[in-house]
Symmetry: C2
Subunit: 257 residues, 2 copies
């Protein structure tokens, strides 16, 4: 894998795979995280491994809603940290908001591994974006002091000053139940999910059907852009349908390898 | 996961996931094996998680070709052992042929873990199929003494009395290069691959676009059936196209969760 040149047509995909298998060996991921990534790979393959027009629109809408919020929070799971931790910290800095590590299969060891990895990535992000207040981004998750109502088990744990009191959330790769619970609390829930037919995708207020590392970079661009406004009549269902049509066209051409 | 009842609509899929994460913790799998499984899950989801009519036809064709061969061999990788080792041993017994463990990322530890797991599964298979000569199935792979011409690296290693001299092979979840090399040697290569657009799927003589555990059970049924003949004009390309159409219809209906 180390021999793959950046010019390789599937370089980004192979590097993501490498980052995730390394994260798994560092104890950052649950057993099912690599399987979830593989499912995403297949849907991204159907997308043609590029950001689609409906995906791009959903990124803009998400940026606008997060910026318009009073208390935005970026929720991070293991895959999000492993794949895009540095860029997500930069987004949080652009929004002047906290990130909160919120994992489904919570163990103290995993949480410690994720917090340590994210602190390493903070240095990386500061070097890449010296103009953003990345040093000041608060990283929540270590000591949850509240629960998301309507959810059972450790996945409900969260911070009162973080996810619980947020009015808008970005949640990459969310589980369906938690997404429903968060939407049920009246929050603006923006998710990143490559499967436009998943329960999460259908439940969220804005669904970005795109690959995480690609869309987070575009999200940062949008967050830093001066003229950004939320659509007055965002139709998430229509956007999902449009994403599905992109996949159908690609699958119908059947020309990929 | 242990609490999932057999009546759960996604029971089989969840059990496969459990078997694989357990196999990973036993050292049977390469780092990318879980990701590959996830990709398969997404394509199976597009199939509606059931064997399609074109898939069923490809299983019959594979059974007929393996039975008609003089020296069939079933090639097994880590995922195949973890997910369907016992049923694949039963298929080998029905064919009176060897299985050969042939893994891309070969280490002595992984090979030992796979051989040990497969011996455990032999007992399981013997209990399930007392009428089949499962005790006599030869398990190759431990001491490769030949190489597949035209391939570099450890993935070329094989047994002279196994894959190298086989006239027909069943290869679940094969890599594209190795599939090409085996077809180039004039062998009848039957593969199991959930992605009908993969290089392996397009290169093989017969491609079963179906989930491994499901199709191996049907393959065993066919191998035990008395009236089974290969099609005189099997058109693999057409069968792949038909499988793709099934996925397109399911994706187009977009009704899955």
């Amino acid at each position: 894998m180390g021999d793959v040149p950046p010019s390789h047509p599937r370089y980004a995909s192979l590097m993501s795979r490498k980052r995730l298998t390394e994260a798994a060996s560092r104890g950052m991921l649950a057993g099912s995280a690599l399987i979830a990534h593989g499912r995403g790979e297949a849907f991204d393959y159907l997308l043609g491994e590029r950001t689609s027009a409906p995906g791009r629109a959903a990124i803009r809408e998400t940026a606008a809603r997060l910026r318009a919020a009073s208390r935005p929070v970026l929720s991070l799971n293991g895959n999000a940290v492993a794949l895009a931790g540095a860029d997500l910290l930069a987004c949080a800095a652009a929004l002047n908001c906290p990130v909160e590590i919120n994992i489904y299969y919570r163990t103290p060891e995993r949480m410690d591994a994720l917090l340590a990895a994210l602190e390493e990535m903070r240095a990386e992000a500061m070097a890449a974006h010296p103009d953003l207040p990345i040093a000041a981004v608060e990283i929540l998750g270590a000591a949850p002091d509240a629960r998301i109502p309507g959810l059972d088990g450790p996945r409900a744990n969260c911070h009162a000053e973080g996810i619980l009191s947020a009015d808008a959330l970005l949640v990459p790769l969310e589980d369906g139940d938690r997404c429903e619970a968060l939407v049920g609390l009246g929050k603006t829930v923006c998710v990143i999910d490559l499967n436009p037919m998943s329960r999460t995708a259908k439940t969220a207020c804005v669904t970005i059907v795109d690959e995480l590392t690609r869309c987070v970079r575009l999200l940062l661009e949008d967050l830093l852009s001066p003229d950004l406004v939320a659509s007055e009549n965002w139709r998430n269902e229509q956007n999902l349908e449009d994403s599905l049509q992109v996949m159908l066209r690609n699958l119908g051409s059947g020309s990929q390898d």
